[in-house]
């Protein structure tokens, strides 16, 4: 279903934030809206956003490609994005990620067999004092998980299994 039909109120509200002659500014919030259901932006949504904003589909695709939080391919229901940048790494983030991989039986970039979690290593999440830290990007938006251990993470994954749409 089209974005406008599915989320008429949100689309209108997003467009109202920017001057009408600069409605192109709405591309980023519209992409988040399009990504909400499936966890990635499909081609039809890119076409529709291009149409709404009167820009080309290529321009929309270039935004999707440039920013790391937009995805054009399906992954697990939740992307688990672990920060491994310097401040976190000084507090054991690399070892944490490695242990997590071992426990889940997947490598970084892979998805668990049940399709629930895709494990990713990402750059700084601004949680350097609470390492190890990761965010989950899923149907309920982006959430932070700080001062994590492997055990706490496995518990979280169990809880995510129970979440209904």
């Amino acid at each position: 279903m089209s974005l406008v039909k599915k989320h008429p109120k949100e689309v209108k509200q997003i467009l109202s934030k920017y001057p009408p002659e600069h409605k192109r500014s709405a591309v980023m919030p519209l992409l988040y809206l399009a990504q909400r259901g499936e966890g990635f932006v499909n081609k039809a949504a890119m076409q529709e956003i291009a149409q709404i904003l009167e820009i080309t589909e290529t321009e929309v695709a270039s935004i999707v490609g440039f920013y790391t939080l937009y995805h054009d391919e399906k992954a697990g229901k939740y992307r688990m994005q672990v920060c491994t940048d310097l401040p976190c790494a000084l507090r054991g983030a690399d070892e944490f990620l490695q242990n997590l991989c071992g426990n889940l039986g997947i490598k970084v970039g892979e998805t668990t067999a049940d399709g629930l979690v895709t494990l990713e290593a990402v750059t700084c999440l601004a949680g350097c004092d609470k390492a190890p830290v990761f965010q989950t990007q899923g149907p309920d938006g982006i959430k932070y998980h700080e001062n994590m251990t492997v055990d706490k993470t496995l518990e979280l994954i169990e809880a995510l299994k129970e979440v209904k749409e």
Binding site: S25, F66, L90, V122, A126
Partner: protein, 415 residues
């Protein structure tokens, strides 16, 4: 001393409208709009000596006075794209003391004649944006945002805008490109945003922490603010302390506090009681400082940190102990900048790529002495040739790491 920015640590529930108002909230904004001319507000901020807290330390009042009054409308943009490894202060402010930040943004908008302000947040701050949207709605309801504020002819709207995971959008012209719906790639400057900014109109961009200072300065006066800190760096700063310390976290302290006080008195000292080997005072963008007693007793202000061959930047102090190899550190920082390079200019796009390859080789024990020379050569060739500061920043830890910690590279390479 009670906090000025992290006031929520002293006052419970400060994020609630009733509590914030009870503690003097929005008096400064009302006073400004009803009793002061916009340029009088700018003058108070100018006299306070407040400098931008995003990293560059540019005098805030002076920036506001550069707004071009020939072009209209004017815009104000809050840079809430906090993404520097080691920096996590703006998030604490917005999560816990959001109304003070928003009041500061409102006062600043009045001072430069902007009727619309945007808050550009990093995409990861999705929950923070939802909270700010709630607070903005509460302000509209209470009559602090909207048309004809306080019965005056001044009107103001504030909107949040989420980025989507790009460090470069903290660079103010890349931020504007992103806000305009394009890839976040920096513009050639000049012209600077106070003349040609958002949608080509005069625009003032400041960091979240900078705005959060403003209500307190307006309420208590420039002289009150100047009494804190040093002559060159007035007031207080939030120091984000991370790395190998016992108590990492945000510490709001006057400028001029020494590294020793921050690390040992506030941060509880080093893990396992090890000695400090190096400090990166401005996050991953820092030059590495070799630590000795003189360094530890250096006051943290813009001028003093410069005498150590580094910069205070956004005051994201990453502490490194003697268990850590500098060859490993620069591989970490270079990996970050390679990932975040926007690809617009060649020296940064290619330089960070090659630096990543070489630092990886050295870190994994496969590098040679020639690799270290080559790495230094690539880094130095990038310096002064990149379109924006990102490329320059990517070389700082590399060059100072190799030059100031040569023994770490001797150990790391094959002979």
């Amino acid at each position: 001393m009670s906090h000025i920015l992290l006031r929520h640590r002293d006052i419970p529930d400060l994020h609630k409208m009733a509590v914030y108002k009870k503690n003097g909230g929005f008096v400064a904004f009302k006073n400004a709009v009803t009793k002061m001319k916009p340029n009088e507000v700018t003058d108070v901020v100018k006299n306070s000596g407040l400098r931008g807290r995003g990293g560059a330390g540019f005098p805030t009042g002076m920036k506001w006075s550069f707004i071009d009054n020939k072009g209209w409308p004017h815009y104000v943009v809050a840079n809430a794209d906090e993404s520097e490894p080691g920096t996590f202060k703006d998030r604490e402010i917005m999560e816990n003391n959001p109304l003070q930040f928003l009041e500061g943004l409102a006062i600043s908008s009045y001072a430069v004649g902007a009727a619309v302000a945007y808050i550009y947040l990093r995409g990861e701050s999705w929950q923070v944006a939802a909270l700010l949207d709630e607070k903005i709605a509460e302000m509209e309801e209470a009559g602090y945002l909207g048309e004809n504020l306080f019965g005056n002819d001044y009107s103001l709207k504030i909107h949040t805008h989420l980025g989507a995971g790009a460090y470069i959008c903290g660079e103010e012209t890349a931020l504007l490109e992103s806000l305009e719906g394009r890839r976040g790639q920096p513009r050639v400057r000049p012209p600077f945003p106070p003349s040609v900014g958002l949608y080509g109109k005069p625009t003032i961009i400041n960091n979240v922490e900078t705005f959060t200072n403003v209500p307190m300065i307006m309420a208590n006066g420039a002289d009150w603010y100047k009494r804190m800190g040093t002559a060159d760096s007035t007031g207080v700063k939030i120091f984000s302390l991370s790395g190998r310390v016992r108590k990492p976290g945000n510490y709001e302290l006057p400028f001029g506090t020494t590294f020793r006080q921050l690390i040992y008195e506030h941060g509880g000292g080093i893990l396992d009681g090890r000695p400090v080997k190096a400090i990166m005072p401005a996050g991953a963008s820092s030059s590495l400082i070799v630590v000795d007693d003189k360094v530890l007793d250096t006051p943290m202000d813009y001028a003093s940190v410069r005498t150590l061959g580094s910069e205070l930047g956004s005051a994201s102090v990453i502490v490194i102990d003697d268990t850590v190899s500098v060859a490993w550190i620069i591989n970490k920082t270079v990996h970050f900048f390679k990932h975040e390079s926007c690809g617009k200019c060649t020296p940064c796009r290619e330089g960070t790529y090659w630096m990543q390859n070489i630092t990886k080789r050295i870190r994994s024990g496969e590098g040679t002495e020639d690799d270290v020379d080559l790495l230094l050569n690539v880094a130095k060739q990038m310096q002064g040739k990149c379109l924006c500061a990102l490329g320059e920043f990517s070389t700082m830890a590399v060059v100072t790491g190799i030059e100031r910690f040569p023994q770490d590279f001797k150990k790391a390479v094959k002979v």
